[in-house]
Symmetry: C2
Subunit: 148 residues, 2 copies
């Protein structure tokens, strides 16, 4: 197995978890900057061509894990692997952001839901999308239906 | 930072990297099983409701990283963060699979591109999709255009 190491850090308007929009229909529209460490800058070559990036980051302010939990958007318990809970066996998060522009080793992006200072583990081009008509969203769709 | 630990292992028809379809237009249609370790099975509660899962796994047969590389589908060099190369600073991979059925702690899925025995780090429900008309795919679209 491996020990994670940051390739950079997120600059985000959110200073604490309570500020990040959560729950049903939460929109992540905040602007932020992925500040990649200078030593990794060559790895960004040609990234400007992609409209969306998959950012893999670490829940560095989360302790331990919980296999069952009640997400903020529901009042029922679900398995951690059926949710986006931060308390996971491996504290790894994935967020798709929209790349606005690159300035050297700084990537200006829209759609951040990370806290300020969050360590970035990896960036990949976002390529595929599952057509909406083929997507089932389980308990989340049910919770949405109950709410409306 | 954290040290990765497997929550399970992939059972896949692919025994070596050469067998995994690669390059432009490669389709991942292979069937496989995500064998989750019994201790993590409670974390799968309600996962059956999702049609697609994001599997986060480890490139465990890859050594070191390379900031610039030439992918199998192109003859030009690109930055590692603009490709899906296995030789990354953190050897983390993400694959979206289609969940066929669950049998206890075994998830039968379609669309695997992992090698047999690959350690699984995390599973998340696949929720969002970027509309095709909003997606730009950079050098990959260019390589496809040159090929056709």
């Amino acid at each position: 197995m491996f020990t994670s190491k940051p390739i950079g850090f997120v600059s985000s308007p959110y200073k604490s978890a309570g500020e990040v929009p959560k729950g049903l229909g939460a929109k992540h529209v905040a602007e932020g900057v992925l500040k990649i460490l200078p030593e990794f800058e060559p790895g960004l070559k040609d990234i400007e061509g992609f409209s969306h990036l998959m950012v893999i980051w670490e829940f560095d302010r989360s302790q331990g894990f919980e296999l069952l939990g009640t997400p903020p958007c529901d009042n029922r318990q679900h398995g951690v692997f059926a949710t986006r809970s931060p308390r996971r066996p491996n504290p790894i998060a994935v967020t798709t952001v929209e790349l606005r522009r690159r300035e050297g080793s700084n990537l200006h992006v829209g759609g951040v839901d990370m806290l300020d200072g969050t360590p970035i583990l990896d960036i990949k081009p976002y390529l595929s999308s599952i057509p909406e008509e083929k997507l089932r969203r389980g308990w989340l769709a049910e919770a949405e239906a109950r709410k409306s």
